[in-house]
Amino acid sequence: MAATPKNRSWFMASNPFKMSPMWKLISYFILGIWTTIVLFPLYWLFITAFKKPIDVQAGPRYLPFIDFQPTLDTWNDLLFQQGNFVLRPYTNTIIIGIVSAILALIIGTAASYALNRFTYRPKPGLIGVFILCIVLMVVLIGVGLPWFAAVAVGLGIFFLLAQTIGKRFKGTMGNSDIAFWLISQRMLPPIAVIIPIYVMFQQASLLNTHVGVIIAYTSVNLPLVIWFMRDYFNSIPIELEESAFIDGASRYTVLWRIVLPLAMPGLIATFLIVLVFAWNEYTLALFLTGAETQTMPLLVAAQNATRGPQWWNISVLVTLMIAPIVVLAIFLERYIAKGILVGAVKG
């Protein structure tokens, strides 16, 4: 992509680099309308967090100090009166979000770099055998064999067949097939895989632990990282790396010292997106967490009590949830768009 100069105001005005005042006014007017559409719900959320229940129920009250008296009652109640009610889910969300985003970023970046710089030739025969063996394992578990016996039988047969049939077929698959397979995992509705994951985690005692949720989120977010980073690496000239190899640097040194610093904007953007996904995720959390590992989206959903939704609580909780993300987004905003874009163009 060519260099990007500052002024791009060209496609609306008759002289593309100068706008008529009239057109400027219209632009601001339309942008203003959408700003209102975006900000008004957030404003409503924010003021509801400072209302008394009675002010919410009595009908709409728009302006603090004028038609209702703002109060910190709900904040006080949620944060201090109820002990760990909010604090624990909040720390859980922070820990799970940040750790899983970093893990997904590390593993995914490594994989997408590898997919970009090496040629893989997965053998269709081996893959077929592998899938057959998993099917066999599932059937054996279904029949009633203990899971470790089934896994052992499956692995045994896999190695046996891999040596015989696996190498027969000539491979016609390549990197793009691996990438597509990884990406296609995003097409699954979480509900399709949650039942087996639940049983698996139960067997491995990972239910209601931070580690379990972190593993699940990492795997869900991996394809996104690979997708976004893959073509970002494509845009980094390979010559830079080659000269480092001539100087005797190893692949890991090159990746760490040369490629990753160059890919920083992409890494930051991807990190933010993956963090937001993990931060806000609801369905997986619903199944995999318990009282100790509950995350914020679950707590928000839980405010829909039998007495009707507790608007004031919901408002406080959502405000708490978005505050750190918004601060992060303001700092990282300049990287976001460019970071995603490079991946999207060729993705």
């Binding site: 791009r8 700003t35 590898a114 190893s250 874009l341």
Partner: protein, 386 residues
């Protein structure tokens, strides 16, 4: 992490001599393709492929709780049969009605255009048996989906969860794209205060879908919400939008558009800003007018990005669940119940077999729509603007 572990392993195996150590570094370096890629592949294998196969098995069985555990009985395609032809047909596919004339016209247009495209391919020199078979399948499935939509949406018909999901997906993705594109075009001008708009427009993407569901429930409340005076002024105080299928669906789509327009906007804006001033100036020097600038400089830049963006949003939008679940609870009746919500409700009723079968049918639909989009829209659009 993986790297450190490999290092430790090789340390244990090797005899610690200087010359050996160098070669270990070399071995590790030579193994770097696998060291870098395998962790990701293993994680995805264990947490996606394995569960996917288990789910497939579950979708072919009946799941029951018995004393001391659960029992899984293999019942073949009984779950799918139930959804497509049996007692759940009305819930999943919908109630078929007599197709109205307007739909007949649309169907005819679709049918004729598909037939023309098909015969063009079948008689052309590019024709291959495999391509022909794929096209026959595509045409048949598209016709089936179109017929289903037409007949459940007209007259006596009632759309089932699959049709509702398709309405959500196409409605919200179309709106998101065009609003996002419009805003990106406006902001790619050299306007003061650009950064403020950019950050403000990004905000909805940062909120948890559950929170947005509640937020819109709060806003659309006809007695406590901010628009209550408006409802009263319009005399709609006794009218509940939740009770009407059309408005309930519209509310869900508006919520989804509000949340995901930023995604379209931010990436399209970046794509537009990638169009360099030099290119435009060169076009001006060559005497291009505005239409030509748009056609030959702007369009080739944004069409590839747009198709990828739409594909991503299509895939994600099919999984919509939080918004209808919280905003409308899937109601009135099943008017706003998406397939994922349908599967989720069956999960809660512990009918895991039916829930898995639903997930698989959704997966099938998503794959079909995504493939049609890639093969018939994306490639053509990119070639057309080339």
């Amino acid at each position: 992490m993986q790297q450190a572990e490999d290092k430790r392993l090789t340390d244990v195996i090797s005899v610690p001599r200087r010359a050996e150590r160098r070669s270990i570094g070399a071995i590790l370096d030579a193994a770097s393709p696998n060291v870098l890629l395998l962790p990701a592949v293993v994680i995805v294998l264990v947490l996606s492929l394995f569960p996917l196969i288990v789910s497939l098995y579950l979708s072919l069985s009946r799941f029951q709780f018995v004393r001391g555990g659960f029992q899984i009985t293999f019942i073949g395609f009984r779950n799918y049969e139930k959804l497509l032809f049996g007692s759940e047909q009305r819930h999943f596919l919908g109630k078929l009605g007599v197709i109205e004339p307007i739909w007949l016209v649309l169907l005819a247009v679709l049918g004729v255009s598909m037939a023309v495209m098909f015969f063009q391919y079948a008689t052309s020199s590019r024709m291959k048996p495999f391509g022909l078979i794929m096209r026959v399948i595509t045409v048949a499935l598209t016709a089936a989906f179109a017929l289903l939509m037409a007949s459940t949406l007209s007259g006596e018909g009632l759309p089932g969860t699959i049709v509702v999901t398709l309405i959500f997906v196409f409605g919200s993705v179309t709106l998101q794209y065009f609003i996002g594109l419009g805003l990106a075009l406006l902001l790619s001008q050299n306007l003061p205060g650009k950064r403020f708009f950019r950050i403000a427009f990004l905000l909805p993407m940062m909120i948890t879908p559950v929170g947005i569901g509640f937020l819109f429930k709060m806003l659309t409340n006809t007695t406590q919400g901010p628009f209550a005076p408006l409802w009263i002024a319009l005399g709609l105080i006794d009218y509940s939008w939740v009770q009407d299928a059309g408005t309930a669906r519209l509310a869900v789509i508006i919520g989804d558009v509000w949340q995901w327009t930023p995604f379209m906007f931010i990436i399209l804006l970046a794509a537009l800003e990638g169009v360099s001033r030099e290119t435009v100036e060169a076009g001006l020097v060559d005497g291009a007018n505005r239409t030509q600038l748009f056609r030959f400089i702007l369009l080739p830049e944004i069409v590839p990005v747009s198709t990828t963006l739409i594909l991503i949003r299509l895939i994600e939008a099919f999984k919509i669940v939080d918004m209808p679940n919280i905003l409308t609870g899937g109601g009135p009746g099943t008017a706003t119940e998406s397939v994922t919500l349908h599967a989720y409700n069956n999960w809660r009723a512990l009918d895991l077999g039916l829930s898995s079968a639903l997930s698989y049918l959704l997966l099938f639909t998503v794959t079909f729509v995504a493939m049609v989009f890639v093969n018939f829209v994306r490639h053509r659009a990119i070639e057309a603007v080339g």
